[in-house]
Symmetry: C2
Subunit: 256 residues, 2 copies
């Protein structure tokens, strides 16, 4: 992933500078430039930065956008508005993929974020190679400045992750999954207990048994979970046996 610089153009609220810095650091970015910030430095920026104070302290302060991005080979501007002359426009996710695919590690890429109230002017957007739009609700699309930085940085960070991340993080599971045979034996065991306790009738199988089968097949149990369930079944059987033994003894005592 190339060296990505976040450029905040004339931010009004120092809290947003701190929030943007923290957002950047959580996603592995650390180069922040501020073009004519209204209030900076400011305790509010430091407070919102939390563990990303270093990024706030190392931020470059510039008078112009040109100064902030002069060494960048790609300059992108975030924009919520439709423009009079269309510009190459990408979603945040598509931009992240574009950067990851087309630029090298030592390429400098700058991303401009505009003012809290008015964004970037048309003249500022015209300085850019690409425009970025963050998809948002048509009813209310006003994403906070630091939040916008968070989303764009998140999309960039996701590009650096392995594409092989499993939907369910099976590798991090602590026990091996149960085999078909283990689950099958458990279901047989369960069926046997259901008969013993009078839940199932051998002459009239019910839909409930199929539903239990479906349930235990669906949840993809691990080896240990099956063993725990088998243990419970065995305990039920022992308890039933000792009960029946007690009853037998009682009967014999009654008869005796």
């Amino acid at each position: 992933m190339p060296d990505v610089r976040i450029v905040l153009v004339e931010p009004s609220h120092p809290g947003n500078i701190g929030g943007a810095a923290r957002a950047m650091k959580t996603m592995g970015l650390n180069s922040l430039a501020l073009v004519n910030p209204k209030r900076f430095p400011d305790p509010q920026a430091d407070w919102r930065a939390a563990g990303a104070l270093d990024i706030v302290e190392q931020a470059t302060i510039c008078d112009t956008i040109a100064e902030a991005v002069q060494d960048s080979v790609l300059v992108a501007g975030t924009s919520a508005r439709a423009r009079h002359i269309p510009w190459p426009l990408m979603t945040s996710a598509a931009f992240a993929e574009f950067v990851h695919t087309n630029f090298a590690e030592d390429d400098s890429v700058s991303i401009l974020f505009g003012r809290e109230d008015n964004g970037l002017t048309n003249d500022e957007l015209n300085l850019c190679n690409r425009h970025i739009r963050i998809p948002a609700s048509e009813q209310y699309g006003s994403i906070n400045l630091a939040m916008s930085v968070q989303i764009v940085a998140y999309d960039l960070f996701c590009q650096t992750l392995s594409k092989e991340i499993p939907v369910s993080d099976a590798e991090a599971w602590d026990k091996p999954l149960a085999t078909f045979a283990e689950v099958h034996d458990f279901l047989e065991h369960l069926q046997s207990v259901l008969l013993q306790i009078g839940f199932s009738d051998p002459d009239e199988p019910r839909k409930a048994e199929v539903r239990l089968q479906r349930l235990f097949n669906r949840i993809e149990m691990d080896h240990t979970e099956v063993q725990i369930l088998r243990g419970i079944l065995t305990h039920i059987e022992k308890e039933l046996a000792s009960d029946s033994l007690s009853r037998e003894i009682e009967k014999q005592q009654d008869n005796g």
Copy 2:
């Protein structure tokens, strides 16, 4: 997309409640529940909510998580920690896809976000069907609470977008793209002008011409852009012709 409720568990800073509400609304979510908020209502929550004040005002206040999620068919908890007993864990993006694929519009889905300092407890995480992890930097993974809501809501919102969004938003372009013939004629015209101004030498073609060809082919010009460039070339030719006419007249005058 099902009805998604955001549940903030014991948030400390009212600013985060407002920030979360605004984040939700920008991504089309509006159902917010607060479990034992420390300071609420609070002007700081209202201020950070900006145009999402309605969500803050309509937030449900609950004493327990169970109360907040009782009608939900899926409850997910955000977690940054590795747990002693692994739980089904998904990235934020995978969770969004899972919800979009597997649940209906009238299903209630709740997503829990824990305390600013400590997240959710293990007992709270055990209430969940799924755990969500937002990918973050290993050096500093402390994502602000409202920012976490923004990312999870953004991933959910992206699922509702058409998968057909073009990388470059070609549909929104104002002019039709130039045809091969238009670009070809322009390049011929350009070459002719380059010869007239002495940039090109007909006996020794240079690499520069090929580079110009590559440049103008690469940028995928539209019809209007090609016409503008052709207009410039024509003006150059006219100017050259009138210069050469002037010189001719001057020469004749000198000779006369």
